[in-house]
Amino acid sequence: MRGCTTALWYSLGMAASAAIERISELLDGGGLETSNTSMRIPTALRDAAALAVTELGVAPSATALTTAALRAALEAVVMQAVLDDHYQHHPRARPDLGDLAIAAAELDGHPLAAEPGRLRQAAAEIARNHPDASPDDVLLWAEARALPAA
């Protein structure tokens, strides 16, 4: 069943919105049908994937590992496009770095999740010198600040 798409895509161009829509449908498809591809990947990457499968058991096969990584990457693309579109239409919905650091801490069960004020302060400090800092950078900085001086 297809989800309703009305009221989305305020800002994306028609071609981009159609592509996002189609990617999402294809990801939902998830059937058992497979295809051989002529995709070429670096030999070293292929060998690294094979080792990770045989020696570390990270996935049932190199194909499964590659497929899972590709799916995650495509899902991230779709999610970010939808979120960016939403932020454009609802600017107040866009989280700042402090919001994201708190959310990251909450998702992980990090002890600093209970101290949102400290995380917001750390976010403000780190954003001054590192405008592209990630929520995880903020958590690290907040943790470091919480350590007693040696």
């Binding site: 309703c4 999402s24 990457a73 991230a76 693309v77 939403h86 989280p95 708190i102 992980d108 929520p135």
Partner: protein
């Protein structure tokens, strides 16, 4: 091992409604998941279908277009979940949606589930002895 982020009723409603006072908070959680997926982290957002019913989340309704596109998967109330949920419901008296959520929690691998919820007490109740992470909204 994939970390599963599960939404409760109010989290789902807050996500769908930009005027909801917790909208930005739940969007923050989804944004973190999207960023982590981009870095190839194994993480997934999901909603039990009974929670969807309670929240009024109809995937064919225009009102839910935004959450519909965020790659949030359904966890159906299948036979196994229904059995576990029935036991939780009769033991605790929680609503069916929370019992379904509890069944999802109890069947997930340890330390791999986060529940985004406005009712941490009920979530701990339905989780039984399962160690879960709770993101309170």
């Amino acid at each position: 091992m994939t970390r599963l982020v599960v939404l409760d009723n109010e989290a789902a409603q807050a996500l769908a409604d930009p005027t909801h006072r917790k909208h930005r908070q739940v969007v923050s959680h989804v944004q973190v998941v999207a960023s982590r997926k981009r870095r190839a982290a194994a993480i997934q957002v999901a909603v039990p279908t009974a929670v969807r019913v309670e929240a009024g989340w109809d995937r064919t309704s225009p009102a839910w277009a935004f959450p519909n596109h965020l790659r949030i998967s359904d966890i159906p109330l299948d036979t196994a979940y229904a059995n576990t949920a029935a036991a939780i419901h009769s033991q605790t008296g929680v609503p069916v949606a929370d019992a379904h959520l509890g069944a999802v929690i109890q069947s997930a691998p340890a330390h791999q589930i986060t529940v985004v919820t406005s009712d941490p007490g009920d979530m701990r109740l339905v989780a039984g002895d399962k160690d879960i992470t709770i993101a309170t909204i």
